[in-house]
Amino acid sequence: MKTVLRLVLVLTLTSLVAAAALAEVYTYAQPKIQRHKEAALKRAIFQVLPGTQTYADTVMHGKTVYACAGPDGARIGYAIPAEGNGYQGTISLMFGVTPDMRKVTGMSVLGHAETPGLGAKIEEASFTGKFADLNVLNGIELVKNAPPDKATGKVDAITGATISSRAAVRIINAALAQVGGN
């Protein structure tokens, strides 16, 4: 009985001290981590919807989006976070659309686990730039061996990273369909 009591006591005390120490570290770290998250979100919004001065989150067909306003307070569009499966893991990205949802204004990859040097190129400006000012009335279409065309929503795939390129396009199309109410 005495041994059991001692076992319980030691484990309880160790856990208590560890929990107290962790609570202390958490109260110091949490606000900072939160700030980093907000800063990253802000950077992404300003990047996908140039000219944004203020933004507020709102729910659209069950999806949280950021309604963005320009310098004069008029709505200039929505920044929409979206994620889905890539080649090796989840790709999360943010893209901007005009208020009428006819045009994508920009795209930024927030996180991915694609192959370095190949699929990882989806986060580079050479790929994200293809989504700036892109007409998406009929969704985005990924093309290979054909010229891209912003007026008809055609984006060409990265050489050697078709799966990652297709994943990015599919994620955006799915999010567009959802906020469009389909």
Binding site: T3, R6, L7, V10, L11, T14, S15, A18, A21, L22, V25, Y26, Y28, A29, Q30, K32, I33, H36, A40, G111, T115, P116, G117, L118
Partner: protein, 205 residues
């Protein structure tokens, strides 16, 4: 020869070379293979691991007479898990970029065999001073190998070392992509292990 007869300098240095956690003990392979795709990632991972290793060894050795034999593993795990969580939170708060690059591998330090191995095999039996030297030696040995693995893979895969452009300044440079992928980790570690063991055998015993 009784174990404690080892000179103090040797107690520190054995983890760096003769009993190096990677080259000789072959422990902690998961972070070694997973996050050494660049020199800075390898170094950050090893520093976080060393922080946990040194602190948990210190607490284990200080508490060794109080911890009953039957629950020693559980107690060690609580101590180790607490320091891992501290390392994870501090990294996320102070170095968000590195924290994001290391991803789940920081919380996974909790199952790193080097740490529980040193706690069970050394810290739970040895005095405080020797335990600290042992933990620091093992940490340094781990740091050396992870950083150099990262540097080699980054050099071939991205053409840089610590983000400093070297090979990639050369116009016809083409990155050896496989080196920053998982296969590159096995190739580099395997060749390194083979080479070092060959040289050690040739030179020493």
């Amino acid at each position: 020869m009784p174990r404690h007869a080892l000179p103090l300098s040797e107690e520190f240095l054995k983890g760096v070379w003769k009993e190096n956690p990677i080259l000789v003990q072959v422990l902690g392979m998961c972070p070694t293979l997973a996050v050494t795709n660049s020199a800075i990632n390898g170094m950050a991972m090893a520093l976080a691991t060393s922080f946990v290793l040194i602190n948990s060894s210190l607490f284990v050795t200080l508490l060794k007479s109080l911890i009953p034999h039957q629950v020693r593993m559980g107690t060690y795990m609580i101590i180790i898990a607490a320091f891992v969580t501290i390392a994870d939170l501090v990294l996320a708060a102070e170095f968000p970029v590195i924290s994001k690059a290391l991803g789940p591998y920081v919380p996974l330090i909790v199952v790193n065999c080097i740490i529980l191995g040193r706690a069970e095999a050394f810290a739970s039996k040895q005095p405080v001073g020797r335990t600290l030297l042992d933990a620091m030696g093992n940490g340094l040995g781990f740091l050396m190998i992870l950083t150099s693995l990262g540097a080699v893979r980054e050099f071939f895969g991205f053409g840089s070392v610590f983000g400093l452009g070297l090979l990639n300044q050369w116009p016809s440079f083409h990155p050896w992509v496989v080196m920053v992928g998982p296969a590159g980790a096995f190739l580099t570690l395997g060749s390194g292990l083979g080479l070092i063991n060959y040289l050690a055998r040739k030179g020493g015993a």
